[in-house]
């Protein structure tokens, strides 16, 4: 029952978000600000986490290849496909839900409890569209870039960690990451990242927009937003993998 109520309210909110913007110039300005605060400011964390994960996956693949007849290029290949297929799309989206999602819920939620949203409404501004549309657009635009960036740094991480710890030679690793490359894997993940971007912006925005109470409730809403976004990301991962693979 609760689920159907929430789902109905979520789609009703989206309908208001995507109604025609009043002032496109103001929306465009907000879009650039959001790209900076939600997207550009996430580049650092994406780079750091991906570099470490690429290094760790490379080590794991190398240490688990106990059979000496398996070719060593499989190490690079293993890291590449893990990054391209799941880590840089799905795991990165889960991490971003924590960073960007909680930020969106607390920003919109505190505007709700301090009556700033009422303030917009009384002026005749469509608060849902004004506050949420630029965020969704910014995150959906940035997610494919963050995906590519994550794959890139993950590959670099493997290249740094693998040879320096003697798990794989640099030549073998570089051969591995080029071996039997399937471009469709990237296309598939880019499509996923668009869906995940939409979830990471819209679900936390929903939780923030309908907060009732005060600062404490905003905190609770942030947590619930992140948990729910994560579950939805995994559900969509399952559905999209089934549909597109």
């Amino acid at each position: 029952m609760k689920f159907f109520f929430s789902a109905g309210r979520y789609f009703a909110l989206l309908a208001r978000v995507f109604s025609r913007p009043e002032r496109s110039r103001i929306y465009l300005q907000k879009l650039f600000l959001e790209i900076e605060s939600l997207g550009i400011n996430s580049v650092g964390i994406v780079a750091v986490i991906s570099t470490f994960m690429g290094g760790i996956i490379t080590l794991q693949v190398a240490y688990n290849m106990t059979n000496p007849f398996l070719p060593t290029y499989l190490i690079g290949l293993g890291n590449r496909d893990s990054l391209i297929l799941e880590f840089s799309s799905t795991v990165m989206a889960l991490i971003m839900a924590g960073k960007i999602g909680s930020n969106i819920t607390s920003e919109i939620g505190s505007m709700r409890v301090t009556e700033q949203i009422d303030s917009l409404e009384i002026m005749g501004v469509n608060s849902a569209s004004y506050l949420i549309l630029p965020k969704i657009a910014a995150v959906v635009l940035m997610f494919p870039f963050l995906y590519i960036l994550s794959v890139f740094f993950g590959l670099i991480g493997g290249l740094i960690v693998g040879p320096s710890l003697g798990a794989v030679s640099a030549t073998d690793y570089i051969n591995g990451i080029q071996y039997a490359f399937t471009p469709y894997y990237v296309t598939f993940s880019l499509i996923k990242s668009l869906f995940f971007g939409f979830l990471v912006a819209s679900v936390p925005a929903y939780f923030g927009y309908f907060v009732e109470g005060g600062a404490l409730e905003v905190g609770t809403a942030s947590t619930r937003a992140v948990v729910n976004t994560n579950i939805l990301i995994l559900v969509f991962d399952l559905i999209l993998t089934q549909l597109l693979f």
Partner: protein, 257 residues
């Protein structure tokens, strides 16, 4: 002028407002008073359409707000200004940007015209030029309320709504804010409705007073009538501070002399 007829409002079966009928006059400060929890904020938000009412009608100068199409309602919103309890300034914008916001959204003015209007409104509420580029977190509670008033009047509203404009302010600052709202109301001939539980405000600017208790409309009158009202609940509210009993008794003596 704003008229409401038989307004009812409930939340999930809990009646909060019961059959309110009254009229608020133009160029005057109309007060809605009552204890906290009596339904003042819900009434004000129902009048401006932030809450959908169960039944009844609301008229803005004979325009029926209740049956209005959303697009017409949206236009009418530009004739309204509202000052919320905490000020509700946008924290991501500076003081000046807050006041300019409605101009950006709803007018075709040039940047110079907007800047002039922003200066005019902020000067009117006595905000110094140095404060224009501060953010809301850097200014005092009283200043926030004044900036909120400046933002509310930036589009020259016909209707001004203030929810507890004095809450959280010291008595002296409260008086300044009350007088400011009263002056602006008279100067620009606005229909102003103010929520308050502060008897000082009532005695200062209560040109028309509506007393509500537990969502029921109990009494209507002016600040001169309120001290002599017979209504039990109103008396409890007014004379919670014994000072007003003394004032009443002194005035009675003066009258009989």
């Amino acid at each position: 002028m704003i008229r409401i007829e038989n307004l009812n409002k409930s939340f999930e079966g809990n009646t909060v407002l019961n059959n309110i009928t009254t009229e608020f006059q133009k160029g005057k400060t109309n007060l809605i008073i009552g204890r906290s929890g009596s339904g003042k904020t819900v009434l004000l938000k129902s009048i401006v359409g932030l809450h959908e009412i169960d039944n009844g009608s609301i008229y803005y100068d004979d325009r029926n707000f209740t049956t209005m199409k959303p697009s017409v309602r949206k236009k009418l919103r530009q004739e309204m200004g509202m000052v919320f309890q905490g000020g509700a300034l946008f924290d991501s914008l500076t003081v000046a940007e807050n006041v300019r916001f409605p101009l950006d959204m709803f007018t075709e003015q040039t940047p110079a015209e907007k800047a002039r209007r922003v200066e005019f409104c902020l000067d009117r509420v006595n905000i110094s030029r140095e404060a224009h580029r501060l953010s809301p977190s850097e200014i005092s509670g009283g200043m926030k309320k004044r900036v909120a008033i400046a933002r509310a009047i930036s589009l020259n509203p016909k209707y001004l709504f203030c929810d507890e404009p004095n809450s959280g302010l010291d008595p002296e600052t409260s008086l300044l804010i009350d007088d400011l709202i009263h002056e602006i109301t008279v100067e620009f001939n606005i229909t102003t409705i103010i929520n308050t539980h502060d008897m000082n405000s009532v005695m200062e600017i209560g040109e028309k007073i509506l007393f509500i208790s537990e969502g029921e409309m109990c009494w209507e009158g002016t600040k001169t009538e309120i001290l002599y009202a017979e209504n039990k609940k109103l008396q409890e509210f007014v004379f919670a501070n014994p000072q007003y009993k003394q004032i009443r008794d002194l005035r009675r003596e003066a009258d009989t002399d």
